[in-house]
């Protein structure tokens, strides 16, 4: 009755041998509906039973921009080179927020979903992917607010205009999404074993913000702290934010070499993230 099967005849195989490179894109595609539903769930449920609802999407960046303007520009007198400080800060905060939200949310992938992960299998990468996509929608709303203020300043006669290459901005957003996804996957994999990382991440992200040119231009740190400016220059997020302000507000500098560096770092981090994540998802449930 029982036929001898050649190993190649089996359609599926489960074993503990994990091939580092076996990353099943076809399988992820099969779960695309799940991805869409997770995105929908994140968006629909986040502000349920709140009075202001999605308005919270707008309140967070606006208030942060106001406070930054008061502290960095009015109190600390940071020069934004003719750009209205509020608009300058809003551009930095909006882009930074996208990266931060993606990173923090993807880092919790295994911890927050251990209940589902412990009961049913689907490609785990669907979860961080859905986070990056649902945050993209939140980012779009915030970006519209930025445009509204932009239009307001132009209407008021302030001399601001985008760079001719502003249409390349979505590329920067994509870069941020991939970078945060990669970094988030690495951290979430390590969190399954070492919970300390959760605390480290909380304040690490805050520190990183100050190194990411959110509230000041690159030229300022190069001028005032030339000894330490390398810390900012080697930070891919600083390069992305500086470049995005260059595209949107035509201020600051743009260097192709640094952009290529940023792209390379992003790709390396992402691939590394995928490999580690892929390895972790197989048995994290035993250690978490």
């Amino acid at each position: 009755m029982s036929k001898e099967h050649d190993i190649n005849e089996w359609k599926f195989e489960i074993s503990n041998k994990s091939n580092l490179l076996d990353f099943n894109l076809k399988e992820i595609w099969a779960y695309k509906d799940l991805l869409v539903l997770f995105v929908k769930r994140d968006i629909v449920t986040i502000y349920k039973q709140t009075i202001l609802g999605p308005l919270w999407y707008l309140i967070q960046p606006l208030f942060t921009a106001i406070i930054f303007t008061i502290i960095f520009n009015n109190v600390a007198n940071i020069d934004t080179k003719g750009i209205p400080p509020f608009l300058f800060n809003l551009a930095g905060i909006t882009t930074w927020n996208y990266f931060k939200d993606c990173l923090l949310a993807t880092s919790d992938t295994f911890k927050n979903n251990q209940h589902i992960f412990g009961k049913v299998y689907f490609p785990r990468v669907v979860i961080p992917l859905s986070v990056v996509i649902s945050n993209l929608i939140k980012f779009s709303i915030q970006f519209i607010v930025f445009i509204v203020f932009y239009a307001y300043y132009i209407y008021r006669g302030v001399d601001v205009s985008p760079n001719g290459f502003f249409f390349l901005f979505p590329f920067l957003v994509l870069l941020m999404g991939i970078l945060s996804l990669g970094l988030g996957m690495i951290i979430s994999s390590m969190v399954t074993k070492y919970r300390d990382l959760v605390f480290l991440l909380q304040f690490g992200v805050q520190l990183l913000m100050y190194l990411s040119l959110v509230a000041y231009p690159l030229s300022l740190i190069q001028e005032k702290l030339p000894m330490l400016s390398w810390m900012v220059e080697y930070n891919p997020m600083a390069q992305i934010i500086e470049a995005s302000r260059y595209l949107l507000l035509n201020t600051g500098s743009f260097s192709l070499n640094w952009m290529i560096y940023t792209i390379v770092v992003t790709i390396v981090v992402f691939v590394l993230g995928l490999l580690i994540f892929n390895k972790t998802e197989k048995r994290f449930i035993d250690t978490i």
Partner: protein, 431 residues
């Protein structure tokens, strides 16, 4: 072709670490990694012993599963039974790819979907309908598949009226109904089910078992792996059984045999009472051995409708001239309700004199055993000349398992309130 092998499990083992797993594992991790880069075996894999829950082991590492091998044919409904901690859930977790095995491999020729818990991923803020889609997608269905079955799912759940209400407003029973309804319409090649029937009210449980039967008995009979402690459900659903014990397969065979094996293994029933201490009575005459059996052999598992008997050996410790014994046997169900009683005074005269040192008394039932399938315990009392000499309670156990006693096409539903069954006839008279 209908009986080809769809699932093959080869040498599956799973090791777990006991105790608190904290940041202290960093040194272990480094150690492991150091062995790995030198091309040596994982040092912690060598340690390990059988996984016995109640016995304190010497190592921090246990094998939750050890060398599991079996094959499943297409269309089989395989019941996996065993005590808590026998490794059932670990096996299902490995099969459903929630965790990976430490050694070994699983090969399959079909898509596996698992139902380790109903309602995985239900979001309280989403409505019933939205949750059907989300849960369905988590279980591996596509949106189009769910859409085509949506009406059926809603109808099966019986939650039509609340379908557009957030699930957080549902009663827990309704949530479970909805969740099971989604799962019931899954259509993988191999379905893995764990204990999900232990929820919901009696009516829904019946519905759920019915649905499971339908799934497994249809034309394209799907392959199902079913884990449960509900022996009645296993009996009525499964075609084959596997008994797991301390992480190894201790028995594999027909469902009936597997359950019988499990019940006898599971129960620590006693038969030798010669050195037994927890007894009361004067002790001048005591039981030495108590055996249960049907006419053919000694057993503690009886089919409904079998004949049952007791074989009691006793020894006389202090002799008196005239002895008149009275034996009382009481049978109690799981809720400790008295079901049957046998009293030798009613129909026997057990008399002997000083010369007897040891004796044996048999009590054989004349009629078929027709008490409800289930677990029973037996109490024995021995009186001599109206004085209690020995009393043993709750140490002898037996099981009655369901059988097609009434000869109809349907097996008896044991989930009723009756305690005793009776052979009977039905007649339809046309007037």
């Amino acid at each position: 072709m209908s009986k080809d092998i769809i699932l093959k499990i080869e040498n599956i083992s799973k090791q777990y670490r006991l105790g608190v797993v904290g940041t202290g594992t960093l040194s272990d991790d480094l150690n492991r990694w150091w062995h790995l880069i030198r091309g040596k075996e994982d040092p912690f894999l060598k340690i390990g012993e059988a996984n016995k829950r109640s016995i304190k082991g010497e190592s921090d590492f246990v094998w939750s599963l050890k060398d599991i091998n079996f094959e499943v044919h297409r269309g089989d409904v395989l019941g996996i039974i065993g005590k808590n901690g026998a490794g059932k859930s670990t096996l299902l977790k490995i099969l459903s790819r929630v965790t990976s095995p430490t050694t070994g491999s699983i090969k399959s020729n079909g898509r596996i979907a698992s139902l380790l818990e109903v309602g995985t991923g239900f979001h309280p803020e989403l409505t019933g309908k939205e949750n059907i889609f989300l849960n369905g997608a988590i279980l591996g269905m596509t949106k189009a598949e769910i859409k085509s079955k949506l009406d059926e799912i809603i109808e099966f759940s019986g939650c039509e009226r609340y379908i557009d209400t957030p699930v957080k407003r549902y009663s827990s029973g309704m949530t479970v109904r909805l969740a099971f309804a989604v799962a019931a319409f899954l259509e993988p090649d191999i379905l893995i089910v764990d204990e999900v029937l232990a929820v919901g009210d009696a009516e829904f449980q019946k519905k759920a078992i019915g649905k499971m039967k339908e799934i497994s008995k249809g034309d394209d009979g799907r392959t199902v792996l079913f884990v449960s402690h509900n022996m009645a459900a296993v009996m009525s659903l499964c075609s084959r059984g596997i008994l797991l014990e301390n992480g190894v397969i201790s028995f594999m065979g027909s469902t009936e045999d597997t359950i019988a094996k499990y019940l006898t293994n599971n129960k620590e029933t006693l038969s030798d009472f010669s050195q037994f201490k927890e007894r009361s009575g004067n002790g001048n005459i005591t039981f030495t051995k108590i055996l249960l059996g049907n006419p053919n052999d000694k057993t503690n598992v009886f089919k409904l409708g079998e004949k049952m008997g007791f074989h009691l050996s006793f020894t006389v410790n202090n002799k008196v001239n005239t002895n008149k014994l009275r034996i009382l046997i009481g049978i109690y169900n799981e809720r400790d309700e008295g079901i049957l009683r046998f009293d030798s005074d009613a129909n026997a005269n057990l008399v002997f004199d000083k010369s007897l040192n040891e004796g044996e008394i048999s009590c054989i039932m004349e009629d078929h055993l027709t008490i409800m399938p289930g677990k029973y315990s037996v109490n024995f009392a021995l009186f001599n000349n109206d004085v209690m000499e020995d009393y043993i309670a709750g140490k002898v156990l037996f099981d009655v398992v369901n059988d097609n006693y009434f000869g109809g096409s349907k097996t008896l539903d044991t989930n009723t309130l009756a305690k005793v069954l009776y052979k009977h006839n039905w007649v339809l008279n046309k007037i």
